[in-house]
């Protein structure tokens, strides 16, 4: 009799803990819920195909970051993190997620430059786009999303080529199917699994 009692108690505790885990998982909320603030911006991807931002990605979870391909240190780290997240999302069988990196240096970052930047990193373009376009359109996206990219002083190499670098925001943004910003991460230092878990909360 006594031992049966203990068994019942153990089963009840076990059952309750499953319930708690279940509801905790479902009730997890993302910290932000604000509109992206831009629409109908015509951009070009690495293959020079027209992409309407963000409308082309409506109905999909979007992971977005901003880069320039002349960046030697931070932007490659951010791109590498985006690539690792893309691989993990695929591994976990999560569908309906798109990855986008928009250049804040459209004058130098032509579609072919973006393609070269992606190719050398073996980017899987299946659901990954690098975007560039008219500086005015890009500027409005940057302004609306509070992304800063300030060109520094121009210096010259011996051969006379001009070089300049940007001081810039280091961010990856998670956007839901309705075009609303749901979370933001340090681009170059993002915790891969934490971002994947947030993507899971948004669902397929």
């Amino acid at each position: 009799m006594k031992s049966k009692n203990i068994h019942t108690r153990i089963s009840i505790i076990f059952f309750i803990s499953i319930l708690i885990t279940f509801f905790y998982g479902c009730g997890k909320k993302l910290p932000e819920d604000i509109p992206i603030g831009v629409k109908d911006i015509v951009l070009l991807n690495q293959d020079s195909s027209r992409i309407i931002f963000p409308d082309s990605f409506k109905g999909k979870t979007l992971l977005l970051s901003f880069i320039y391909t002349n960046c030697p240190d931070i932007c490659p780290m951010t791109t590498h993190n985006m690539q690792l997240i893309q691989q993990q999302v695929k591994k976990e069988g999560i569908d309906n997620v798109e990855f986008v990196e928009i250049s804040f240096d459209p004058l130098r970052d032509t579609p072919s430059k973006l393609k070269e930047f992606g190719d050398i990193r073996d980017i899987d373009y299946n659901n990954f786009n690098f975007l560039t376009g008219n500086p005015v359109g890009i500027k409005s996206i940057l302004n609306n999303m509070n992304i800063l990219a300030l060109p520094g002083d121009t210096t010259e190499t011996k051969s006379g080529s001009k070089i300049y670098f940007f001081t810039h925001t280091d961010r990856i943004t998670l956007i839901d199917k309705n075009g609303r910003i749901r979370n933001e991460y340090r681009g170059s230092k993002a915790n891969i699994q934490a971002v994947v878990n947030d993507i899971k909360i948004l669902g397929d």
């Binding site: 780290m77 050398i120 190499t157 070089i163 001081t167």
Partner: protein
């Protein structure tokens, strides 16, 4: 004998006191920029100073540091870097790096690139870096 030993000690000091370990470079296309990372190890008791790095792979090579200023990432050129006795300094993504500006050729994963590191006391130290994806 003591004379011979002291010469050996001096030779040893010059060849082994400063080491460049685990040097690697990011892949990038010709005309673009990349960065070199490594561990700088000083196993002598004396300090030294790295003031220049050179390579045939790029038009311009500079010592840099990435700094985070209120969430904005900024790169600053540094004229030289002091290393104390028995100290190791890591050049790593998001911090100290040697910037390779205007690459003269494609740097593809697996390629090896030669570098010369210039120190005030140890002189010129040569090291190869491997191109690896990150």
């Amino acid at each position: 004998m003591i004379f011979l030993l002291s010469i050996l000690t001096i030779l040893n000091y010059n060849s082994n006191s400063i080491e460049i370990n685990n040097a690697w470079v990011r892949p990038a296309g010709k005309g673009m920029n990349s960065a070199l990372y490594f561990e700088l190890k000083n196993s002598s008791a004396n300090s030294d100073e790295l003031f220049k790095v050179s390579s045939n792979a790029a038009e311009l090579v500079q010592l840099h540091k990435t700094v985070n200023k209120n969430g904005l990432m900024e790169m600053k050129e540094i004229k030289s870097l002091k290393i104390n006795g028995n100290q190791t300094i890591k050049f790593a993504p998001g911090g100290y790096h040697v910037m390779l500006i205007k690459l003269k050729k494609d740097l593809k994963t697996g390629n090896k690139i030669g570098f010369k590191f210039y120190f005030k006391k140890a002189g010129i130290i040569k090291a190869d870096a491997v191109v690896k994806s990150y």
